[in-house]
Point group: C2
Chain length 507, copies 2
Amino acid sequence: MHDKSFPTDRRTLLKGAAAGAMLLTPGAALAKAGDREAIRKAAEAGYQDSVRRIQDWIKLPSIAAENLNMQEGADYMMRLARDAGFQHVEKVPTAGHPGVFATLDAGAKRWMGIYFMYDVKQFDPKEWSSPPLEARIVDKEGWGKAIMGRGAVNQKGPEGAFLAALHAFKAAGRKLPVNLVLVAEGEEEIGSPHFTQVVRRPDVLAALKKCEGVVIPTGWQSRDGSTDVNLGAKGVVELELVASGEKWGRGPAKDIHSSQKAIVDSPAWRLVAALQTLVSPDGNTPMIDGFFDNVRPLSARERQLIAANAAATNPEDVKRALGIKAFIGDEPWLKTQERLASQPTVNIEGLVSGYTGPGGKTILPGRAVAKIDMRLVPNQTRDEIVGKLRAHLDKRGFQDVEVNVSGGYDPTETAENSRIIRAQQAVYTRSGVEHTLYPRLAGSWPGFVFTSAPVSLPAGQFGLGHGSGAHAPDEYYVIESSNPKVQGLVGATMSFVDFLYEMASIK
Amino acid sequence: MHDKSFPTDRRTLLKGAAAGAMLLTPGAALAKAGDREAIRKAAEAGYQDSVRRIQDWIKLPSIAAENLNMQEGADYMMRLARDAGFQHVEKVPTAGHPGVFATLDAGAKRWMGIYFMYDVKQFDPKEWSSPPLEARIVDKEGWGKAIMGRGAVNQKGPEGAFLAALHAFKAAGRKLPVNLVLVAEGEEEIGSPHFTQVVRRPDVLAALKKCEGVVIPTGWQSRDGSTDVNLGAKGVVELELVASGEKWGRGPAKDIHSSQKAIVDSPAWRLVAALQTLVSPDGNTPMIDGFFDNVRPLSARERQLIAANAAATNPEDVKRALGIKAFIGDEPWLKTQERLASQPTVNIEGLVSGYTGPGGKTILPGRAVAKIDMRLVPNQTRDEIVGKLRAHLDKRGFQDVEVNVSGGYDPTETAENSRIIRAQQAVYTRSGVEHTLYPRLAGSWPGFVFTSAPVSLPAGQFGLGHGSGAHAPDEYYVIESSNPKVQGLVGATMSFVDFLYEMASIK
């Protein structure tokens, strides 16, 4: 679900190939010069260990949707935290799969929160050019050496780079400049249905409340080295709409022969009838009653940021990257970019009914399913929208059409003047990394867990480095960059080192 | 596609459990008494060989949709024909998979056509209680010993019983009372797309033109021993409706991340928009422009036959057998039965788009497919309806939505006073088998190939015996009946012997 970089990273889409290159200068040193140098040497010395740590982690896929390796994944996450120096490491049971809570008290003045996910997206090995659990090191044309495997960039690679930073501090004998609270979950890819149970547990909440903010490690550098600082993300709801003879009381309970269509109702046609009420005829505007009631229009500052983005990017590059020939409504590029940030959506992820193999099969299916995701913008909430969808269907006589929510969360917003946002900008700037301040990711991540009450902290993404293919085949994370503008694993590690120093000292 | 007995045989549905039992008396002997007795002894002596012939055939599944064993299946069909006494046996190439043409000239006065299919429906072994290609002999509660396997009843069992009749004639040293023309195809289950190329080849056509009619061997006896004589069948068209970014020029060419829905059109929503124009909001009445133009209303005689059927059957039994709680519109039973025979349909066999596995996946699919079948009644034709569907979509701006027809054929009608219909009735009557004259199967079979020009012959189904589960798991064909009202393999074989004698002598 935290899936910014699929199928091409948004940064590429926004900035396009034409964006200007900038010199990469050595990262800042708010650390004493000697400290940073010692840590960098330790990071370099630990490179092989860091690579192997990511590879080994990829070899243990935890997939909540398939209930695969969930306890094992949580245990592994705990071991990784302990090895990196967290003194207190604890499994946090939930009504679903367990989370992990860990603290590293370095005796520093400030605390910072770190969010990890230990789960990965489902995968089909047949679609991969390299076995997705072998985490092989491959040559990625134009990028350099990369680890290829499920979870490589989403999120084990960047998380591994963050862990490598902690190992480097240890190996160099340097104290962390900030104390850390780690909260991790194994259900990110199913919409984080129980993660609030982790962060709201009184002791976890108390620990988080001491923090300046929460950061998820990422690696989203474009070819030109640039990256983003995001002030928020859309929320999301994932659900299945299910029409069935069983619930409807009409149509068959199971698939029957299609000749009976002459006298038997069809749940598949019922699903189609219900679906088409949800959007405008062109499929682009949600028509669920009251859907837009709480949508807050873009602010002047948001429009300003979007305009700057739009001016710096080329729509043709974005079309090429997405494999499309046209944007919705053939609108001007600025309008399209405003849509991306501001438009809530109702999307069909998948349709499944009856016979789905090659050719045909003369059946009247007893059940039809539409997999739907809805992206939400402030001030919509997940609960509000799920309730409105239910009411919308009920009002039209579709009481029998099930709305089975599998996950989701509210939109996220973080203030531009928060320390974690300013620290990101400062590190990027001093590293010579061009970075765009962007109002809202069109994708989603469970930042609302942190930004909404009772935690109420700023939350965002940070990290140099590069990977791509989240949720897709051939997912990868660069460990040895052949592009001087893009950091490999050691550079990514050092970006976290610099960020921790920055968080310690920023006003 | 010739799928009368899935998921429960139509006979059961029509007659219900309450239908009265009748005495089974020995089959008629238009044959000299001694001939019939000798043939019966030969059929009994050949029982094990006949069982093995069906089992061996099941072990070689030909599936056109999967291009599985098609040449092998045609070769095997030819061997079976040769072994049964056909003197001329020939493979008939088509633009698709080959057909088989064979003749058996016994020096008789009349000729009769026999239609065989050598292909079977796809299957999933996981769903079967006995491996579908092992053709094991199982005890079928209430029926007796049966061969269980893909193709057992649809159509290798009944076809095997017919072949057993020819072997019995041979073994008894008796001449066939009629000469035979066998035409077989391997694409029945994909809608017989090339079978007209077989029957219209000049030499095949000339041979068929000599025939009284064409019969497909079946085995549809109900528990009470009764069966049907059908005067026709609906036609069918199977097709895929495909919406894709590629053809549309909008939306993605491949699946992309669902966050892009804010700015990218959705082929899945486009498919939904196109689909919902095809039927009334309740999904029960086709709304394709001009769909009903050529529908011939039921004749007085057809209404009479349906009324007799409706009176003899119990709607509650039919609901139970179908696993439904209500028929369309909760109409009176007679009306429902008229619908079954007279209503053309537009049915969704399957929906496939994007992510179809467990849980969700945040993608915007590049392609969406609805698998559709349409059942046609006289005087609709396949070509007419495909053309009207295309025009209907075009008129509404869906020129990009593909209509990929995979198979289908026109409705079939055969005159009540034809020799093959009267011979069926005569054999059943003299065998004490209650039989319903039914105007039109709601299912389909490619009888139009024979009933329409240029062949223009009566065509129908015939056979005693019982099997069920066509297109479903655990398909079976009874070889040793524990029900005195239902024939096993020898009885089925003898029904074909009697039918051949009847065809030789009927006025």
